[in-house]
């Protein structure tokens, strides 16, 4: 079980204390979802693209072994040094060893959810290496000693006034200045110094192409590019599922990625790294960390198709109203809720329940992951493994009993309607979690069943 106070619902409760902020958070993310819809509607073949992307990813999962071997061979022929990491620990050690070899204690890093998953920053800092996140949103949460609350919009939970205050403390901007333009310019100046100092640059990877041994990194800010082009060493960190078969498949994914993420037609930079430049060292760390195990599961394998666009976050009514940190894991939102239980079912047993199962996540997913189905299946796994608390267990057992006995079901309906009409005080209490933030509905006098019997025309 998870420590009391740290479950999704408890953390969401905390986030919900500030009603205005929740509304703002909700609206901001919905705004991004609307932009996604507009962008998608402009592409007549959008649904065919989703289907193609899904099929390409299915093909990848069924042939991952050969694609990995092919990628390694081609990348090595291009001059890229390939490393394999079985888990987070090995990934961190590999990265550290490369940095150590160059006797460096300051590195710059662009966005990589994999390094968040592996806890790389903390690991390197414990080894005395300063890590500077160069994506603006990531730098903001880093200065605040927080983790990103969204995979594409890391500081979506921060208000500009708070960022102004944070920059006033750390970058010396004038007190009270909260103008995004001004603050971005201040961050540009601050980070430019680090770019010019950085001799090792770490990036994530959006796609790696087996056929050509190249990999693609997408950003809007240009931070990944500026970092690696100034540095002597480029380390790219990638989960093994990010492989795609051929270069032409990038056409499908790049048409979908940015439109799904933010509603842009494409990110400002989609950089294809095929070889190290003269005098530069280029490394790639291929990380398993549970992925090969997940590959065996018919129920949960599909989550490996994810291209990390964040569309499922923006559309999710639970994410928008509970905030990324309530998911207590590197990747929040619906996709995080089906990934995290695969890492540690016990520790993340609450996350499959952080959903209304409305299915909107599945409908916006550009690679057609059956997210809400998997949430439901994880719930079953959680219950089967005994990771639900007693009250939920009792309620579910009782509900199961009632629903499987028609006569008792009928009687309890009658009883329920009677109680709601005559003794509402029994239901209007804090013990009834449904009553929290809701009014109980007015109860009809008769059930649908009896109404139908009365009114049906034979």
């Amino acid at each position: 079980m998870i420590k009391t106070g740290n479950t999704h619902s408890e953390l969401a409760d905390k986030f919900n204390r500030d009603k205005k902020r929740v509304e703002w958070h909700d609206e901001t993310l919905w705004f991004v979802r609307v932009k996604r819809d507009k962008a998608a509607l402009q592409i007549p073949v959008w649904e065919q693209l989703r289907e193609a992307a899904s099929q390409i990813k299915n093909n990848v999962l069924g042939n991952l072994h050969n694609y990995l071997v092919q990628f390694e061979k081609n990348a090595q022929a291009n001059g890229i040094r390939i490393h394999w990491a079985a888990d987070a620990k090995e990934h961190n050690e590999i990265v550290h060893a490369i940095i150590k070899k160059h006797a460096i204690n300051h590195i710059i890093k662009s966005k990589s959810m994999l390094t968040e998953e592996c806890g790389l920053n903390e690991y390197l800092e414990n080894q005395g290496i300063e890590v500077i996140d160069t994506d603006l949103g990531e730098r903001i949460v880093q200065l605040a000693h927080e983790s990103p609350s969204h995979i594409v919009l890391p500081c979506i939970h921060w208000k500009k006034e708070e960022i102004g205050q944070l920059f006033h403390q750390h970058l010396g901007t004038p007190h009270g200045n909260a103008d995004p333009q001004f603050l971005t310019a201040a961050a540009r100046t601050h980070l430019r110094e680090h770019f010019l100092k950085g001799r090792v640059a770490i990036t994530g990877v959006n796609f790696a192409v087996a056929e050509t041994g190249e990999f693609v990194v997408c950003t809007n800010e240009g931070n990944a590019d500026l970092g690696v082009q100034l540095a002597d060493v480029h380390i790219a960190c990638m989960g093994i599922e990010k492989i795609i078969p051929q270069r032409k498949h990038l056409g499908v994914f790049l048409r979908l990625l940015a439109r799904s993420a933010t509603g842009q037609p494409i990110t400002t930079y989609s950089s294809h790294f095929q070889k190290p430049r003269a005098g530069q060292e280029m490394h790639m760390v291929l990380v398993d960390n549970g992925r090969s195990k997940r590959l065996a599961s018919d129920d949960f394998r599909n989550a490996l198709k994810c291209i990390r666009c964040g569309a499922c976050f923006n559309t999710c009514p639970v994410y928008r109203r509970s905030g990324g940190h309530s998911y207590h894991t590197a990747i929040a939102g619906p996709i995080g809720s089906i990934l995290a239980p695969g890492f540690d079912l016990k520790k993340n047993s609450d996350l499959p329940f952080a959903s209304t199962l409305c299915g909107s996540c599945t409908n916006v997913c550009p690679v057609k992951i059956d997210i809400h189905q998997q949430l439901f299946k994880w719930r079953q796994a959680v219950v089967k493994e005994g990771h639900v608390d007693l009250s939920k267990k009792v309620v579910l057992k009782f509900t199961g009993f009632v629903l499987s006995h028609p006569l008792i079901y009928k009687l309890s309906g009658t009883l329920g309607r009677w109680v709601l009409r005559n003794l509402p005080v029994i239901t209007n209490t804090r013990l009834n979690t449904w009553y929290k933030q809701r009014e109980m509905p007015p109860a009809p006098k008769q059930s649908f069943n009896s109404w139908y019997k009365q009114n049906k025309r034979v």
Binding site: A52, Q229, L230, I266, Y269, H272, S292
Partner: protein
């Protein structure tokens, strides 16, 4: 057993039955490619100028950027006015560049992106470190979508190839769009019809 062998054997054991790759056949609705390209790139913060001669480009560059700008040019046709780029030994030497001028291979109408490779960049850091980026593309080289783009790229090799779409930008602070995050603050594209 090394991690490599362990991972590969686990993947081999656990991967499902292989499924077919789909055919990529996405017809595009016939549009005016040039207009679509200009509209799309303008909407994402770029500026596009339709020109018919190199002289026009020279005049526009001179009119747009201050005379004190440090201009770096990698295009031969413009070397009489803007010099020709000498590859520096250290990319850090380019940190003061105000304006960088280079050729793009082709533009993609649907997303406003321009493909360029290290060959056209002079130095790979140049399109990212300069304050303002100027790209010149041939007006005939505008293609509909990324599918045609990858057909065109084919199996060519490069050190770095990139789709570049607009000036660098961020909306990380309350979703307010700001142009000029870490890379160029502006992008000016000349579409030349000769």
């Amino acid at each position: 057993m090394s991690s490599r062998e362990a991972i590969l054997s686990a993947v081999k054991k656990n991967q499902p039955v292989e499924s077919e790759l789909p055919e990529l056949n996405f017809p595009f609705t016939s549009v005016n490619l040039k207009d679509t390209f200009i509209r799309t790139l303008t909407a994402i913060g770029g500026r596009v100028m339709d020109v018919t001669s190199w002289n026009e480009i020279v005049d526009n560059i001179k009119a747009t950027y201050s005379t004190t700008s440090q201009v770096v040019n990698t295009i031969q046709e413009l070397s009489a006015d803007f010099g020709s780029f000498q590859r520096p030994s250290n990319p850090h030497d380019l940190k003061e560049v105000t304006v960088a001028i280079m050729k793009g291979d082709f533009g993609v109408a649907e997303n406003g992106a321009i493909w360029l490779t290290d060959e056209a960049m002079g130095n790979q850091v140049l399109p990212y470190i300069c304050e303002h980026l100027v790209l010149v593309i041939n007006a005939e080289n505008i293609i509909p979508t990324l599918h045609e783009a990858y057909e065109r790229i084919g199996n060519s090799t490069y050190t770095l190839g990139t789709f570049l779409a607009g000036p660098s930008k961020t909306a990380d602070i309350e979703q307010s769009l700001v142009l000029g995050a870490h890379g160029p603050k502006s992008l000016l594209v000349f579409m030349i019809t000769s």
